[in-house]
Subunit: 340 residues, 3 copies
């Protein structure tokens, strides 16, 4: 895709300085941009790059006063960052929009229906009795089991796996290799010390605008549903166990894990590599620091915790500060005991 | 699948109260059940739900005395939980049994043999010289490399990958995205600071009744075998490194990792997000608490450890209790030093 | 593949003792070797196995003096370990070399080119406008998105996924289930508490001789590139976030994670289950101990850190030693306060 500076300026309702016929074909940071790229300048700290950049065009603020001559076309707008974000959205939407149609071979089972404007990549698999909405993109080698429901405008990237009976809302994104609906880890110990698998007949429900990262795993419920509520964003390599419920607009960073039947509130922020034990509740707007281990329920909204086991993050920080000095503390204590 | 209350009662040798012609098509928890569902009541705490449930039928104890009228058919049995578990087993077996035959296209290499009653999903791949038993289900996009052996009644879910030479026993379950037999992480440092890969020519052996979770990785041995013994259950996103041996009937929870050449005993419980260093031995019946880091061998059977590095869990708990009060300890010590 | 002891000895320029016509078809450890296997003896600790081994042949040192009669052919060389490593390399190369040609069905998009001597497994997918070098092996169900570039002699194992625009160098190995180029985890909070995805239009660049473990995830840059430099080896289930740069010849062990925009130096060793926060720099030759949490930049080359949060590993060890005795410290302090 190639656009002239003129076309970009019209889209952004910006004013051009320099050559309006120059073409750009990609977006880049001002400090890395090469010929053919369009960059932006928002933070004044980066202004020196404006005078040395190889970008073919730069979006700048209306009010910016040039301190030196520039070798690039300028597009002046009220808010360069916002205009650039708009272009990023267009750019990504254009790439995605190009993915339509059905590549051969792909598989679709009996009695399954998929709406208009869809993409089904080669080697993608859709089981029987599935209901899939409009403008859904199913990339190559993705697996959609029997009886799965998927809303409109959802994208399932390459090799993601949705077990039978999974329900996915509108505008969801499921990244490559994610596994949704695998068996919960439930085993009944037997008198001889062996384990029998407890059948896991529930499913997973993802509401609208949910994002699931690459190679993340979300287990189905033993009975009922494991539920991820509207707008929640889950990063890569996260584990969500059976019967967990994650509230709306919560963010869970990479490599964190939530054990069975725990309920996480809405608008929470769970940092990376956090572990949350089973059968507890985390209040709305809770923040959990990285590598924490949450061993009991959080009852008050807005709580910030850290540590393994996790407690109040300020108290934890103070304790960690003393932890480093433990050898000196011990020495001082021994001296006092010896009467020195 | 739809059954009448009459049919269910005959299967469970139960006594019906209410309409024996009502049909049920799914199983549910009593507090969540809708029309068409069969639920059970075992824990007396849940009895109030019996009088309000929308379930079409509920399995209850023979001796239960109703305190109010009910709107649901009842099936009376000696042990409702056990009867319900039986139904869960039937239900899951019925779903699995429906997966038979071969979907097109699928791939099978030269000189490979697969037994009776199998399922091979579309886009599944079986290499050359494989020996696969009876009633094996290989879901879509699963990969079985050359020279792989698989026993009877084993299920390989969608997109699981078994590298060449892997050996899998009877009645195993390998969930979606699991990778069995990838190269061990072995690199020989060179004089110039670069690394040369050490060829990894061993394999992975899973004995009977082993379960491997979604997106878990088990590396092949450098030489010889990485071995998971009979009945051991491994959760999602677990890492098992080269030449590890995990004993029989051990449970390893999600996101734990075992480094190269370590040996874990039988009947152990490894909680979530645990790390175990390489070249150590963990005694039988050891329990390792969540997020622990096991840095040395555990010699005594039945040991319970916790922490990073891990030591006796009671001692660890006591130390953690004081850890939170470190700022106060430091203050008290300073006061004593100042002679106050 | 079967070779006579004569053939092996010629390859290694070794001297035979015993039957030079015996054949071997596999390599094994001396303590585990069965008939038909070739083993080696380097460490004198293992010498007793030489007199009991079932190996058909053993590579031994020129100078070794036998203390008992042996039942196996011997091949004498100056350095048995080095000779055996050479054989391992040959063995693995021979297995890999047998993978050539194209299995049906596989998919290749418009305007994509792949060099000589390649293997494309069944159900592998190559998008449009890809440039792929010579002797590249793409295993079944691997996904190569549009505009991907791959150098010579690189192997992409089963089901690995390379998103569009990924660049991979020569002699790289990407293991099964790895995901390269998934969206960075970037979401802009909105006034109503929901999140909007920030388009991620950058890519991932892997330089030459990079190894990526099974089910590892490497996110694309928001703009620009996430870069893994020459010779770096990444283990299984590792997370590399958007815009990270990992220097040359660095090793990252399993289940570690690096957050967005951090820069890791060259010749570093990152042990397992480590977390590194975003927007920091780690100096060259830094060693980070297992399960550490690195919360700030490391400025000095050669630093060794440990702990969560991580600091000097010796200081950390000393603090951990006192940590275990905290209950006793508290008791002593209370006694002093009470004037005892």
């Amino acid at each position: 895709m190639e656009f002239t500076v003129q076309q970009i300026a019209e889209l952004l309702k910006g004013k051009i300085e320099g050559d309006s016929t120059v073409t750009v074909s990609t977006l880049a940071k001002i400090e890395e941009a090469q010929q053919g790229a369009l960059a932006f300048l928002s933070n004044p700290k980066y202004e020196p790059h404006l005078y040395t950049t190889n970008a073919s065009a730069v979006i700048v603020a209306e009010k910016l006063e040039l301190k030196k001559p520039v070798n690039t076309a300028l597009i002046r707008v009220p808010d360069p960052y916002s205009s650039f974000s708009t272009l990023l959205q267009y750019y990504q939407a254009a790439i995605m929009a190009s993915k339509t149609g059905v590549e051969d071979p792909s598989f679709i089972g009996n009695n399954s229906h998929i709406g208009d404007g869809h993409y089904r990549g080669a080697f993608s698999y859709i089981g029987s009795n599935c209901k899939i909405g409009d403008n859904v993109r199913i990339f190559p080698q993705a697996f959609i089991g029997d009886n799965v429901q998927i809303g409109d405008n959802t994208t399932i990237f390459a090799g993601a796996k949705l077990y039978a009976n999974t329900v996915v809302g509108n505008n969801c994104t499921i990244h490559a290799g994610a596994v949704i609906g695998s068996d919960g880890f439930g085993f009944a110990p037997q008198p001889d010390g062996s384990y029998n698998a407890i059948p896991q007949i529930g499913n997973v429900v993802l509401e609208d605008e949910v994002s699931v990262g690459a190679n993340t795993t979300i287990d189905c419920a033993t009975m009922g549903a494991t539920v991820i509520r509207k707008g929640t964003k889950i990063d890569n390599l996260v584990q969500i166990a059976h019967n967990v419920e994650v509230g709306a607009h919560t963010v869970i960073a990479s490599q964190s894990g939530v054990s069975g039947s725990s309920k996480i509130g809405k608008h929470c922020v769970i940092a990376g590599q956090v572990g949350i034990v089973g059968h507890i509740s985390i209040a709305d707007k809770t923040t959990v620091g990285a590598q924490s281990g949450v061993s009991k329920s959080v009852k008050e909204s807005g709580t910030i915790i850290q540590g393994s086991p996790a407690f109040d993050y300020k108290q934890n920080l103070r304790a960690l500060t003393v932890f480093r000095k433990l050898p000196e503390l011990q020495r001082d204590l021994e001296a006092l005991k010896a009467g020195k």
